[in-house]
């Protein structure tokens, strides 16, 4: 079970809606439709399968646990967060679908129509996501940061913000570097000044063994 949680990048104490949010975010990330290279598509498809499996396993096991404890089991797992937010998260599901299908205008319209008191951290995250997809990177960063302030524990919001900060400070790819496409063109790996000096010292040592020296000392 632990590996499923790891796959979605959340810990076992996450609420159902957090699991769902992480699942949707991961699914978006590995959407095979947004890749073109064949090996990337294959990788994305594998990942999507794994993620879906992990999500199903987690949700099923939670449902089973609840049945054992005699709690009511509803079809919609979001119902556990209280009536109000359940209503809101239903809307979010619809909006997430709109964002996924790149219907950004419609998604933004539905988000803006939501009353102020229902605007949760997820609202701010989704708004940020719309701006991000539109290419409005400044606004996106602000909304991601707002969602993180409202819900600092949520890993999806945190990741989005961390990536924005990482790229804004002049880096490419992701801060954890695992899935990044970091490929600095033309530059040999580790070809920086420190390595250059190190290599020079090494070369000098070898040269000295043979009786010569690059340096005068």
């Amino acid at each position: 079970m632990e590996k499923f949680y790891k796959l979605l990048g959340i810990d076992e104490n996450a609420t159902d809606s957090q699991v769902k949010a992480a699942y949707i975010a991961m699914k978006n990330k590995y959407d095979p439709g947004s890749y073109e290279k064949e090996d990337l598509i294959r990788h994305a498809e594998e990942k999507t399968e794994q993620i879906t499996q992990a999500f199903d396993e987690i949700m099923n096991s939670r449902r089973m646990a609840r049945m054992k404890n005699g709690e009511p089991v509803a079809d919609d797992s979001d119902a556990y967060d209280g009536a109000n937010s359940a209503e809101a998260s239903d809307d979010y599901g619809y909006i997430e679908q709109l964002i996924e299908s790149d219907d950004l205008d419609a998604a933004e319209e539905s988000l803006d129509a939501m009353p102020q008191n229902l605007r949760t951290a997820n609202w701010f995250y989704l708004k940020g996501l719309i701006f991000f997809k539109k290419g409005w990177l400044e606004e996106a960063t602000e909304f991601f940061s707002a969602s993180c302030k409202m819900d600092p524990k949520n890993i999806t919001y945190k990741r989005a913000l961390e990536q924005a900060i990482w790229q804004r400070s002049g880096n490419f790819g992701n801060p954890n570097g695992k899935d990044s496409y970091q490929s600095m063109a033309g530059c040999a790996p580790g070809c920086d000044l420190c390595n250059l000096c190190g290599a020079f010292v090494c070369a000098d040592c070898c040269f000295r063994c043979m009786g010569g020296s690059y340096t005068r000392c």
Binding site: S34, G135, L137, E139, Q167, G170, F172, S183, C187
Partner: protein, 301 residues
């Protein structure tokens, strides 16, 4: 908008540099062939960037030949021969140039306005020819001009809003390079982020000029002072936006399946754009220490 999208030569292989220059020369010659000798002055680096994508994505076989040129009459240089990518790029150059003159007539005063009016007259026939063969692109750019005017007259403007018309315009132009919807989506994002980068860097570069002439600049508020402290704050914040745009551009580019000229495009995205940022920042007294993150930086800066 000149020269912000160029390769960082010290990181290019010698053969890549030769190919890049050959494409540049080829576009210059194509402008001469399609239009007139005068139109060769409209050569721009960002259009060469577009040509790299267009050549990289097309199946057409292209030829390079050594040729003479007005600029270097004694030595023959490698030059890209006539091909459909170059013809399209030449049309786009003329359309961009024409709208730039219209923009100048609107913005500038006295002498420069006169010059722009004169150029409009000379380029009118060329523009009509270009717009006829590239009606889609001409519509995109005309639309962009309207959006830009609306934006400058509107009250509330964030940086994102200010960049949007330029970015969208380049996105839509880039989109026309492919018929495959998947590729189009990626190309739109590449164009959008390139446009964003160009717009922000251009606005930064013009900040002193715009402040003096009280022209529109997204980084300046109306009637506000511009002191050294404020200026360095503006540059500091703008750098974050520029970095983010380039990183997003790189991310989209890595998703695009393109085989030819990949290393040259990579050089532009990963080094060239940042080297242009560095130049603009240095020009305005905001030096950036070790910024390009490559072997050549310490030698060449």
């Amino acid at each position: 908008m000149f020269g912000y999208v160029r390769p960082f030569i010290p990181e290019l292989k010698v053969c890549e540099n030769e190919i890049y220059r050959a494409i540049y020369c080829g576009l210059c010659k194509q402008l001469g062939r399609s239009y007139s000798q005068l139109s060769r002055l409209m050569l721009r680096y960002d259009i060469v960037f577009l040509v790299l994508f267009s050549l990289g994505l097309s199946e057409e076989n292209v030829e390079f030949k050594k040729q003479n040129c007005l600029l270097h009459p004694l030595k023959k240089e490698l030059c890209l021969e006539k091909c459909s990518s170059l013809e399209k790029a030449a049309d786009i150059s003329i359309i961009f140039a024409y709208f730039k003159f219209i923009d100048n007539v609107r913005d500038e005063k006295f002498f420069k306005r006169f010059i722009s009016n004169l150029s409009l007259l000379t380029f009118k026939n060329m523009f009509q020819k270009a717009a006829k063969s590239q009606s889609e692109i001409s519509n995109i750019i005309e639309n962009f001009m309207d959006n830009q005017i609306n934006l400058e007259n509107s009250q509330k403007k964030s940086i994102d809003q200010a960049c949007d018309p330029t970015a969208k315009c380049l996105g839509l132009v880039a989109q026309t390079l492919s018929n495959n919807p998947k590729k189009q989506k990626i190309l739109y994002r590449i164009g959008y982020m390139t446009g964003r980068y160009i717009y922000i860097l251009d606005a930064l570069d013009d900040i002193n000029k715009d402040f003096k002439s009280k022209a529109f600049n997204p980084f300046l508020q109306k009637n506000a002072e511009l002191n050294a402290e404020k200026k360095s704050k503006i540059f500091e914040n703008a750098l974050l936006s520029l970095n983010f745009s380039i990183a997003q551009l790189a991310e989209s580019f890595e998703k695009l399946q393109i085989e030819k000229y990949k290393s040259i495009i990579k050089n532009i995205i990963y080094f060239g754009l940042r080297s242009a940022i560095k130049k603009v920042f240095e020009k305005h007294g905001q030096p950036l220490a070790l910024f390009l993150n490559c072997c050549c930086e310490s030698k060449n800066s």
